[in-house]
């Protein structure tokens, strides 16, 4: 049935390979990285630099192997970075330099 559909990898409703997987109900408290990424997205949203749909679209563009390997907020920082580069808010050269300095 739906297994034959050309679904996108993030479109997870009813996907067979997860049906026998127990839900991990442990709390997994957020860390500073998580909170900071969350806050940056909120600020970019408030300033109309990046809307929530632009965040999602860029998360959805992450290759599946990376999507499944990365944590929730690791996906976000990758999506935020992709968006800021594409929109020209930052350049790749600036980012490389900033990453070396930081």
């Amino acid at each position: 049935m739906s297994e034959a559909t050309p679904r996108a990898m993030h479109d997870l409703g009813g996907v067979s390979k997860f049906m026998c997987e127990a839900v991990d109900a442990e709390p997994h408290a957020l860390n500073d990285f998580d909170r900071t990424v969350d806050a940056i997205r909120g600020i970019l949203g408030g300033k109309k630099v990046m809307g929530v749909d632009e965040l999602r679209r860029n998360i959805e563009a992450i290759p599946e192997a990376d999507y499944l390997r990365l944590s929730y907020y690791q996906r976000w920082i990758r999506a935020i970075t992709a968006h800021l580069l594409r929109q020209g808010v930052i350049t790749e050269a600036e980012l490389i330099a900033a990453m070396e300095d930081a």
Binding site: P6, G13, D53, R57, E60
Partner: protein, 92 residues
């Protein structure tokens, strides 16, 4: 505007196969029949917002589907209630 109780079908369409897109209609509903529960308001189309395209304002509906019609392995009286934009709905 679709009235409560109107039977509708989710379009059997796969924009995913035609290049980059952002879709808010889950794969498991495509081609399935449901019933409009209520109109939730009108909202800018996220499929356009995601790509900074000129946005259309679309009616958004809560649509109910029996889970038994969606999957082969169902037991129990289960339904799914989903927000769907009018652009994804056609007459059933």
């Amino acid at each position: 505007m679709l009235a409560s109780g109107t039977p509708v079908r989710v379009k059997l369409d796969w924009p995913e196969t035609r290049g980059p897109c952002h879709i808010r209609t889950p794969h498991y509903l495509r081609g399935h029949q449901g019933v409009v529960v209520r109109h939730l308001g009108d909202f800018p189309n996220p499929e356009a917002l995601a790509f900074r395209r000129p946005e259309q304002i679309l009616p958004l509906y809560h649509v109910r589907f029996p889970m038994a019609g969606l999957w082969p392995d169902q037991h129990g009286n289960n339904t799914v209630l989903v927000e769907l934009y009018e652009s994804w709905l056609e007459a059933a």
